[in-house]
Each structure stands twice: as structure tokens, then as C-alpha cells.
């Protein structure tokens, strides 16, 4: 019997330890940022740093000597706000109307198709968007622009397309949760479908839609690589639609690799300012979405009259037209992007065998992607190997062991939620200041994977927790009532029932490791060297390789081929995830149907 006690105790210790580790890593990240950024704020001066508009760092500046460089980021703050506003204007409006289309005007048969379009748009890695920007959008814009097309317009367009899926998905779920009874009541009064949709349904979902826009803003703020590739990046104000400018994230990722002492501190401080904006937005989101929930729970009878203006003033007919157009636009963009990249990238990929299987010659003309493929695989394995067990155990602790509202749990949970909002470049920054010194200052697959595993944690914890919550309590009771201990109940019953959720966490994580590039660039390596032989060697993931190839401009066909591989990987992940999750769901609902018979 003692053996069981020991097992129960060990279980609690291990699950609790994982949760504690998650909380500790959040604290570590913020401690490092403060610890590294504070001296820079002090040396440069908060006012001069935030409101200075000359950025001209010197890599020889140290904390002991007078500064010779200039460290003002105001141009980039303005640039970030401008690009985010532009993205919101484009992606927000398109996303909103697309959601309206999907919820109310989409023919039943096409619903699955459009859902896949949005899914795919969400899954395409940010470097691929950036590359599409460089190779398709900039040449197009340069026809009308005085420069090569880069600047605020290009950045807003690309960012807008990137936040569109987020806005669409959240707005759609807000619209879907409006009670059907509203619709029926309005129809019964003789209102047409479109009138009902725009006069009743959308106003009722207003808070949820606003929340989705705020979340879109959060995404736009944290986006790095795509915007680096199309913004031009000179540290000046965005003085027009076609004028080179720089955003905060770009500042970090462009200079992190060669920064001196104060310079590095200033980049960390840039990260702190970025986080400040992100948390401001998250706070807004929380306030909005809690309002949305409150409104949803309110009884219908106490609602104020809901016949108000829709979010944007337009007539129902115009609204319907716009929603159809938006959805068409989304599909067009996806087709254009896929078509263009496949068209340019497939031929070189198929005709040049050395692309995939060749040996890399330093300085040679031939580029091979084999080292990047292997490095990507290594990074996927290690970062998932860390994040999945840790995240699942944390979720188990939070959901199975703790009382819902105890202080410790609330703290851990909000720590994890905070982590979820941190932009990926900040993880990269953390990796550089915290992990690189551990490995003698040089980048390695190990350092990159550690960095990214931290980034994966919040998603894994949340997804797993959701699926644990979906496991019926009856199963737990049934097992405990038989005299089984908690550990056995969890391992034998609860986790197997939550498998589809854990599986989707795995797929999401693989997708992120493949797609992210900002956190890898300086932690894992940016030179396409030979195949990494161990985790201590450096290497480039495919996304980083694409960034390099696109930036050099010499190996443009190889860049297209890399983009094709990335897209194919994302596509196949997406498909296999749906197939397997669908299968697991069907398996569990089959039982339920039989039960209700």
C-alpha cells in the first residue's frame, strides 16, 4: 500500500514541478529583460531613449565610458504604430467582412472550403509572406512608387493579410455565439436575411468583434520577419506610403547579432518598450472579451434595444456585397501566393537534385537545403521533446490537482497567459542574452531549440488544458470509485481521452517551429553551413534559410524552392492534423451516439 502512496506523491511532485518550472521561466524571461535593459535605460536616459529620434548606435559604447552613438527609438515607435494601424485598416476590415460572409452568407457546400482557406492563410510562415512581398508585391508597387516599392504601404498590406485569419476566426466565433432566437425574432418581423444580419446579429456580437480586432493588433505588433523584408528598415519616420522605415521588432532582429555592450542593452530596452505595447493591447483585449462574455450571459430580457448601427456604417445590401468581396479577396490572395510561389519554385526544386541532396561547397555556386532540412528536424524534435511533456504535465497539474481559484494556480495561469502574448522576437532576445553565454557565446541548434521550446509552452499548456476540461468527470469518478489512485486515473483514463487535444498541440508546435524564424536567427545560427553533426553545432532552419536566400538576392531560384518546401510542409501538417483529429473525434462521438440511443 505504501507503494501507492509513494506513486501518488511522486505524481504530484512531478506534475507540480513542471508547473513551477513554467512559472519560473516566465519570471526568468522578465528578470533577464529588466536586468539587461535597466542599465541601458539608465545610461541613455528613458526620455532620450523613447523620444529621441536619432538611432545611430556604436558597437564600442560601454557602460563605463561616455556614449559616442545615439540611441533614440521614437522613429520606430511611430513606425510600429503606423504599420499596425495600416494592418488593422486592411486586415481588420477584410477579416471582419470575411467572418460575416463565413457565418451568414456562405453556401453550406463551400463552408469547409473557405474554412481551409483561412486555416492555410494562418499557417503560412511569416518569412513566406515576406518573401511573397519581396518577389511579388514590391515589383508590382514599384511600378507606381518612386522607390523599389518598400515602405508603409507594402508593410501594411503584408501585415494586414497576416492578421486577417486571426480577426476572421475570432469574429466568426463571436458571430456564431449570438443566440439564434434573435435571428428568429427579427425574421418574424419581416426583416430580410441581410437586414437581420447587419441590424441585429452583428451589433449583438460587437464586443467579440472588437476583441478580435484587438487581438489582430497584438499579432501585428509582434510580427517581425515579414515586415523586415518589405519595410526598408532605415531608422526614419514613415514619411509616406513609399518611404523606408523601421519597426521595433525589426530593430531587434537586424542588430542583435553584432551588438556591443550598450547597444545590446538598448536592443533589450527596445524589447521592453515593445512588450509594454503588447501588454497594453492584451489588457484591452481582456477587458473587451470579458465584456463580451458578460453580455453573452446577460438575460435577453434585460438587454438594451439591440437595433443599433453595425460596426461600420453601411446598408445591408452593400454589406453583403462587401462580405462576398472580402471572402473572394482572401481566396484570391491564397491562390495567388500559392500559385506564384509554386510556379516559380517547383521547376528548380524538381530539376536540380543537388538542391535537396547535394553537398554544400563553401563559396560555391550550388546551394543545398539538406543541412537546413536536418537542422529543422533536429530543432523540431528537441523543442517538442521539451515543450510537450513539460506543457502537458503543467496542464495536468493545473487542471487535475489544483482547486480552481487558489492563488498559486491563478498566478501560474496568468504567468502562462502572459507568456502567450510575448512576441517571438522577444524570445529570440532572451535566448541571445540568456542561453548563448551558456554555450560560449556561439549559436547552436541546442540554444535555438531551448529558446523556441519556451515559446511553445503556453500553446501546449492551453490546448492540453482545454482538452482535459472536455474529459467528462464521470470517467474520473468511475475510476476513483473503484479505488484507483489519482496517478493511475490520469495516466490510464484522463490523458488517453485528451489525446486529440494533445495531438493538436503537437501539430501546432511543429508548425510553429518550422514557420518561426525571428527567435532562431541569432540563437541557432544564420549561415547555411554543413549539416549539423550535434546539437552544439549551429544550423539554419528552413525559414531562416529562406530569409537568408531572399535577402542575398543571388540565389533567388533556390529561395523559391525553399518557399515551396515550407508551404508543402505546412500544407501536409495541416491536412494530417485534420485527418487525425477528425478520426479521434469520430471515434469518441461514435461511442456517444450509441450511448444516447
Amino acid at each position: 500500500m505504501n507503494k501507492v502512496r509513494v506513486k501518488e506523491f511522486l505524481g504530484k511532485l512531478i506534475f507540480g514541478g513542471a508547473a513551477l518550472f513554467c512559472a519560473a521561466s516566465v519570471i526568468a524571461i522578465f528578470a533577464f529583460l529588466v536586468f539587461k535593459g535597466f542599465p541601458a535605460f539608465q545610461k541613455i536616459g528613458v526620455w532620450e531613449f523613447v523620444f529621441g529620434d536619432v538611432w545611430s548606435p556604436s558597437r564600442y559604447d560601454t557602460y563605463d565610458a561616455p556614449l559616442s552613438g545615439y540611441y533614440g527609438i521614437f522613429t520606430m515607435i511611430v513606425g510600429t504604430i503606423a504599420a499596425t494601424a495600416g494592418a488593422l485598416l486592411i486586415g481588420g476590415i477584410l477579416g471582419y467582412f470575411t467572418a460575416v460572409f463565413l457565418t451568414f452568407f456562405c453556401p453550406k457546400k463551400l463552408q469547409g472550403l473557405f474554412a481551409s482557406v483561412i486555416h492555410l492563410l494562418a499557417g503560412i510562415p511569416s518569412v513566406v509572406y515576406g518573401f511573397f512581398g519581396i518577389s511579388f508585391l514590391l515589383p508590382l508597387l514599384s511600378l507606381v512608387s518612386p522607390n523599389n516599392g518598400s515602405g508603409l504601404l507594402a508593410a501594411s498590406l503584408i501585415l494586414g493579410i497576416m492578421i486577417l485569419p486571426t480577426v476572421t476566426a475570432l469574429s466568426q466565433s463571436a458571430l456564431e455565439s449570438v443566440p439564434q432566437s434573435y435571428y428568429d425574432a427579427s425574421s418574424a418581423l419581416g426583416c430580410s436575411h441581410a437586414e437581420t444580419v447587419f441590424r441585429i446579429m452583428i451589433p449583438a456580437a460587437r464586443s467579440g468583434i472588437t476583441a478580435s480586432l484587438i487581438l489582430g493588433v497584438g499579432r501585428a505588433l509582434g510580427e517581425t520577419m515579414a515586415i523586415v523584408m518589405v519595410a526598408g528598415n532605415s531608422p526614419t519616420y514613415p514619411k509616406g506610403l513609399f518611404h523606408s522605415f523601421r519597426v521595433l521588432t525589426a530593430n531587434i532582429v537586424m542588430e542583435m547579432g553584432y551588438a556591443g555592450e550598450v547597444h545590446e542593452g538598448a536592443l533589450v530596452a527596445t524589447g521592453v518598450v515593445l512588450l509594454f505595447f503588447v501588454f497594453l493591447i492584451n489588457l484591452l483585449f481582456l477587458l473587451r472579451s470579458s465584456k463580451a462574455i458578460r453580455e453573452k450571459n446577460k438575460k435577453t430580457s434585460v438587454r438594451k434595444p439591440i437595433v443599433r448601427q453595425a460596426l461600420l456604417p453601411h446598408t445591408p445590401t452593400l454589406g453583403r456585397l462587401l462580405s462576398v468581396l472580402s471572402a473572394a479577396f482572401c481566396s484570391t490572395i491564397l491562390l495567388l501566393l500559392l500559385g506564384f510561389i509554386l510556379f516559380r519554385g517547383l521547376p528548380p526544386l524538381l530539376s536540380r537534385r543537388y538542391l535537396l541532396f547535394g553537398k554544400y561547397e563553401f563559396g560555391g555556386a550550388q546551394i543545398t537545403l539538406l543541412p537546413s532540412l536536418i537542422a529543422t528536424l533536429m530543432a523540431v524534435l528537441l523543442s517538442l521533446g521539451i515543450a510537450i511533456p513539460l506543457g502537458v504535465m503543467t496542464a495536468v497539474f493545473l487542471h487535475e490537482y489544483t482547486k480552481k481559484n487558489s492563488l498559486a494556480v491563478r498566478l501560474i495561469r496568468s504567468a502562462i497567459d502572459t507568456l502567450a502574448g510575448v512576441p517571438s522576437i522577444v524570445y529570440g532576445l532572451f535566448g541571445v542574452v540568456a542561453f548563448l553565454p551558456l554555450f560560449g557565446g556561439s549559436s547552436s541548434v541546442l540554444a535555438g531549440s531551448l529558446t523556441v521550446s519556451l515559446m511553445l509552452l503556453p500553446t501546449v499548456v492551453r490546448t492540453t488544458e482545454e482538452s482535459l476540461a472536455a474529459v467528462p468527470d464521470g470517467l474520473r469518478e468511475g475510476s476513483l470509485a473503484l479505488g484507483a489512485g489519482k496517478v493511475r486515473t490520469i495516466l490510464r483514463l484522463v490523458l488517453p481521452s485528451a489525446l486529440s487535444g494533445i495531438f493538436s498541440a503537437v501539430i501546432l508546435s511543429i508548425g510553429r517551429v518550422i514557420g518561426e524564424s525571428a527567435p532562431f536567427l541569432w540563437t541557432m545560427g544564420s549561415v547555411m553551413t554543413a549539416i549539423p553533426r550535434s546539437y552544439l553545432d549551429s544550423g539554419t532552419t528552413l525559414s531562416v534559410a529562406l530569409y537568408q536566400l531572399a535577402g542575398e538576392g543571388w540565389h533567388i531560384e533556390e529561395a523559391y524552392a525553399t518557399a515551396v518546401i515550407l508551404i508543402l510542409l505546412v500544407l501536409s501538417l495541416n491536412l494530417s492534423a485534420r485527418a487525425v483529429i477528425g478520426h479521434l473525434k469520430r471515434k469518441s462521438t461514435k461511442g456517444k451516439e450509441a450511448r444516447s440511443r
Partner: protein, 258 residues
């Protein structure tokens, strides 16, 4: 591997001055009741009167409920179950069947073998014997003998409930608690489970909660009537239904309460 030695609890339940609170809510008030060995007792009373709550005290399933506080004496064959005992061993001796059938999402065989495996039975032959015996005692062997490896979720509600009973029997409990075991079932399944209860009573102490007064009258030896957390009356079923001592009991069984 030999099955571990598990302390065994007896068959008779004795409750003295038991109170239970959910937070500030006083759910059981000064309950005193005796449930002798190998009898079938039915708990009746309107919804929310505390029947399930008292039932869950007998295998300490209330331990999981936040802010639940218990006082008073709960004895099984003289052993206090709220003292220093092994809760898992208690639950092995005191089985439970729930209102909503809750088969595990695994094969029928694994459902039944789950309990024995928990307590260290590993040998296939031994497990086979336990599975067959339990399914027979739960009167469902004939229906599932040829598909033991299929998922238990594919069975009908009535079959699932009997699987759950078999699962509870597989760890050889001396007491079986049933919380409205037939509430979610059709009349034919209900009848089967009633017969099963009468059979099981010969070896096991059974406590069942039911909303169906006819069922209580048909199968139970003793009936206990609860109202707002109090035990109003407990006696021989025949006597309680024909000549209730308490006016409130009379009104309940003649249909004056909801």
C-alpha cells in the same frame, strides 16, 4: 506477481450524528442510520434532499468536493472510515454505480479488468476468470461474451450500466452503492437491473438511491426517507409504505411532495 494485501472493510454500515456542509450550506443534519449486512436499502426523497450526498459519504467521494466538511461517526463493521484508513482500499470494498453510465473509453474486457489491474492482478487467466464471473453476476455475459474486445461505448445505455455494475463487482466489494442506477434507462433495462439487485443482495450490502417509489417497494428490504438534509424515517420497506410513522413520509409516498 501476487496481488497486494489490501485491508478489507466489512458489510454493515452504521452512521451516528453525521453532519455535512458544502461551504456554509448544511446538507446533512444529524443523520443516524444503520444498514445491516446483506440487505438492500433504498434512499428516497425529493431532489436535493441529500440522498446522493449521504451515499457518497460511504466511500468518501465527497473528499474531492471543494469546501465539503463532514462530522460525526461513519462506521463499517465498527471501523471508522473517516479515521486513518486507506481511502483507495475503502473504495475497493465499497463499490459505486453512478446515475449516468460511465464506461471507460476502452474495450469491455479492459473496463472490467481495470479495477483488478489497479490492485495488482496481472495474470491473464486470473483476469479472464474475474471478467467472466463479474459479467455473469451482472447478467450481461450472454450479451457481450462474443465481443469483449469491442469498445464499451458502443453498447446501449442499459448494457453500459450493467457493464459499470460488473466493473464495480470485479474488485469484489462487500458493499455496493448505487445512485439512481436506472434513472437514465428504459423499462426493460430497468427491470433487468432490478432483478440483478435482488440477486446481488444475497452476498452484498446494497444501498440504492431511487426516485421510483415502485422500485423501492419492489426490491428493497429497508427504505429511508430524507427531506432537506434530515432523515425523516427509516424502516422495513413494507411497514414504511403501508404504515408510515411520520406524517411527512405519508404525504411523500402518497404523492403530496414533488
Amino acid at each position: 506477481m501476487k496481488a497486494r494485501e489490501i485491508p478489507h472493510f466489512g458489510q454493515s454500515i452504521r452512521v451516528r450524528h453525521a453532519d455535512l456542509w458544502y461551504g456554509a450550506f448544511h446538507a446533512l443534519k444529524d443523520i443516524c442510520i444503520d444498514l445491516p449486512s446483506r440487505t438492500l436499502t433504498a434512499f428516497i426523497g425529493p431532489s436535493g434532499c441529500g440522498k446522493s450526498t449521504l451515499l457518497k459519504c460511504f466511500n468518501r467521494m465527497n473528499d474531492m468536493v471543494e469546501k465539503c466538511r463532514v462530522s460525526g461517526e461513519f462506521l463499517i463493521d465498527g471501523v471508522s472510515i473517516y479515521g486513518k484508513i486507506d481511502v483507495n482500499a475503502l473504495r475497493k470494498s465499497v463499490g459505486m454505480v453512478f446515475q449516468k453510465p460511465n464506461p471507460f473509453p476502452m474495450s469491455i474486457y479492459d473496463n472490467i479488468a481495470y479495477g483488478p489491474r489497479t490492485f495488482g492482478v496481472r495474470k491473464r487467466a486470473e483476469l479472464d476468470a474475474i471478467v467472466e464471473d463479474s459479467l455473469r453476476r451482472a447478467a450481461i455475459w450472454d450479451e457481450v461474451a462474443d465481443r469483449l474486445n469491442r469498445s464499451a461505448l458502443g453498447l446501449s445505455g442499459g448494457q453500459q450500466q450493467r457493464i459499470c455494475i460488473a466493473r464495480a463487482l470485479a474488485v469484489k466489494p462487500s458493499i455496493l452503492l448505487m445512485d439512481e442506477p436506472t434513472a437514465a434507462l428504459d423499462p426493460i433495462s430497468t427491470e433487468k437491473i432490478e432483478e440483478l439487485c435482488l440477486e446481488l443482495r444475497k452476498t452484498t450490502t446494497i444501498v440504492t438511491v431511487t426516485h421510483n417509489l415502485g422500485q423501492a417497494a419492489r426490491i428493497s428490504d429497508k427504505t429511508a426517507f430524507f427531506l432537506s438534509g434530515e432523515l425523516v424515517e427509516c424502516g422495513d420497506t413494507k411497514q414504511l409504505f403501508s404504515a408510515p410513522r411520520d406524517e411527512r413520509t405519508r404525504r411523500y409516498i402518497t404523492g403530496k411532495f414533488g
